[in-house]
């Protein structure tokens, strides 16, 4: 029994989870509407997209890399899915193209980072621009309105299963799959090794380049398919869809204990981080705090989370922008 408690105390995600419960309880007592089913649904609906992208981003961040291009990719594929019917194609075509776009962007990022050994921050910043530019050129001022959203995607966005929004169930399922793989599959365990000590990982015989490439490919593919969720959530898509999401996603990961310095963190943590940020956003509204403060408080929370993490861990001081080596 004691060992179970000790084990639980060592779980990195625990403080964030407790904080999440605390925020929910405080808000719920102050405003009872927050604890209703619709309050919960608001949180889960709002968090599905960020949670999905955060799960994908975890694969990259544990390797001490970063993928800033996800916001452009998801916006692009949300638009493609919405526009596929007016281009004379069905939903499956749209899904195929979305996956293709995600794989292409992921492969491009992965190739340059893994095989050309270029810094991921620069590479994915560049693909952020390029993908957004191509997307906007294709969209050319067109926006997807509700009547053009495929019925199946519309259905996903509007319906619940036992009260839980379908798009959150998709995000949750993805979290379970990725979380399991990152815990149990050796190739995915290698990502942690690469992130915590790259030279050691190479010496241990891990095919680093291949692993890095595949992780970026997976992140791209998930971000591409996540266009379904973005379209389902908002029922619209336009040239600015997904803009700036990359920073929210990284914030969710960091708050959820996925260290930007690499080697630490889980998909579960990333989702908890995303849920916490979303809960606080909605809690501020429920507590009557002007929504202008939301962004500022999100920022403060992110800083508090990494400060706390720094305080709790006895790792050396960071020596690069990505943290300690």
């Amino acid at each position: 029994m004691r060992s179970l408690v000790q084990k639980a105390l060592r779980v990195r995600e625990l403080p964030v989870f407790i904080f999440l419960i605390l925020v929910a309880v405080v808000t719920g007592t102050a405003n009872h509407a927050f604890f209703t089913l619709s309050g919960l649904q608001d949180v889960l609906l709002g968090v599905a997209v960020i949670a999905t992208l955060a799960v994908a981003q975890t694969l990259v961040i544990v390797m001490k890399h970063i993928d800033l291009s996800v916001g452009s990719t998801i916006g692009f594929t949300a638009y493609v899915l919405g526009a596929s019917s007016s281009w004379g194609h069905g939903l499956w075509w749209g899904l195929g193209v979305s996956l293709g776009i995600g794989l292409l962007v992921g492969a491009l990022n992965g190739f340059m980072v893994a095989y050309l050994k270029l810094p991921s921050l620069v590479v994915t910043l560049a693909t952020l621009y390029i993908v957004r530019g191509i997307f906007n050129e294709i969209a050319a001022g067109d926006s997807i309105t509700e009547d053009r959203v495929p019925r199946a995607i519309n259905f996903l966005g509007l319906n619940t299963f036992y009260g839980i929004p379908l798009i959150f169930i998709i995000a949750f399922a993805l979290m379970l799959v990725v979380g399991f793989i990152m815990k149990r599959v050796r190739a995915a365990r290698d990502l942690y090794a690469i992130g915590s000590n790259l030279p050691a990982a190479e010496l241990a015989g891990i095919p680093v380049a291949r692993r890095v490439f595949l992780a970026f490919l997976a992140t791209g593919a998930i971000s591409g398919l996540a266009g379904v969720l973005l379209l389902a959530r908002f029922n619209t898509a336009a040239a600015n869809s997904g803009t700036g999401l990359e920073l929210n996603v990284v914030a969710a990961c960091v708050v959820g204990g996925v260290a930007i310095a690499g080697g630490i963190g889980t998909a579960y943590g990333a989702v908890i981080g995303a849920v916490l940020l979303q809960t606080i956003t909605l809690a501020l509204g429920a507590l009557g705090i002007p929504q202008f403060w939301q962004l500022a408080i999100n920022g403060l929370l992110l800083i508090a989370a990494i400060s706390l993490d720094r305080y709790l861990s006895s790792r050396v001081k960071p020596t690069s922008i990505m943290g300690s080596n």
Binding site: L116, L118, A126, G133, A140, G244, V254, I303, S320, S324
Partner: protein, 322 residues
């Protein structure tokens, strides 16, 4: 015989000349003084912030909060002026707010020891959020005409916009300090190996704190320029500028890993991006083309040096094998 060492920055300058040549061929309006004035005004804020960002990236750090800092100092300026403080004092307040923002970033990175990438994503949200909290939904538009005119007119009898003055003065200072003083050499030393720099007696933490503070102050200056140019202080201005600044600095030959870079390379890169933007606009390309071109240039700026290293490495090993 001294061998001419062709650096990346030379490539950027050649590129700038090519863009100007191509732009002039594409549109007769491109090479006019009117257009030059427009381009200089257009790149003003990015150029001013890039001066400081160059130092920061050379020292191995990064600041993603610069656009939010710009915005918060603009908002503080507007807020102070709306509450009856004279415009001149409001400008000083705006600059101070920028400086404080930079100090907060620097404090979190150097004293608390947090990674700057994560910290400045946090302060990116924080500063932008504070700007919203400060101004709410009401941008400040009633600014004194005499000051606003500075933002949109040229220096009398020239084709240069007024924003060139702070840019030229600050640019000259930044250039001299980076390449001809101890502080500049320290900046490079920290970027190459912070540990070694520390043991050589360089006050690494204090230097980094100062660089963050300087970046905040430059963002504040850019905030004032921005406010005058758009004759308004609003909480939603300059969104995404941070990526533009970083793209320009990296394209200018500063290595993201730190330790490498030059100020004239960065300035040439800022001008190149401004010139391309103008050329594409005049040639009726959409704004999207500019996004793609910016991204492509950013990629080129990391791929080409890397390719040269690989090529040289191969040649060396061939020589060694013989």
């Amino acid at each position: 015989m001294k061998k001419f060492n062709f650096a990346w920055e030379h490539g950027v300058v050649v590129f700038l000349i090519c863009v100007i040549g191509a732009g002039s061929l594409m549109s007769p309006y491109f090479a006019t003084t009117d257009n030059l004035s427009f381009v200089l005004q257009d790149v003003g804020e990015i150029a001013i912030i890039a001066l400081a960002m160059t130092y920061l990236i050379i020292a191995g750090e990064i600041d993603l909060s610069v656009a939010s800092t710009l915005n918060l100092s603009s908002a503080a300026l507007g807020f102070a002026f709306r509450n009856g403080i004279s415009f001149e004092v409001s400008i000083v307040i705006g600059l101070l707010v920028g400086l404080i923002c930079g100090l907060i970033n620097g404090y979190l990175v150097t004293i608390i020891g947090l990674p700057s990438l994560a910290v400045t994503i946090g302060t990116l949200a924080l500063y932008r959020g504070l700007a919203y909290a400060l101004l709410g939904n009401e941008p400040v538009n009633e600014l004194p005409d005499a000051w606003i005119n500075l933002g949109v007119t040229n220096i009398p009898n020239t084709f240069l916009p007024w924003s060139v003055i702070p840019l030229a003065v600050l640019g000259a200072i930044a250039w001299v300090v980076l390449h001809y003083t101890r502080i500049g050499r320290w900046t490079f030393a920290i970027g190459i190996n912070a540990e070694a720099a520390k043991f050589s007696g360089i006050p690494v933490a204090r230097m980094k704190l100062a660089l963050f503070a300087a970046t905040g102050l430059m963002s504040g200056v850019a905030g004032v320029v921005y406010t005058l140019r758009f004759a308004s202080a609003s909480p939603d201005g300059a969104v995404g500028y941070e990526l533009g600044v970083i793209a320009a600095v990296l394209f200018g030959g500063v290595a993201i890993a730190g330790g490498v870079g030059s100020l004239w390379g960065v300035l040439a890169a800022v001008l190149s991006l401004g010139a391309i933007r103008s050329a594409l606009q005049l040639a009726d390309f959409s704004a999207n083309a500019l996004l793609v071109v910016s991204g492509a240039l950013l990629l080129v700026s990391v791929v080409v040096p890397r390719a040269i290293v690989i090529y040289k490495g191969r040649r060396k090993s061939v020589v060694a094998n013989k």
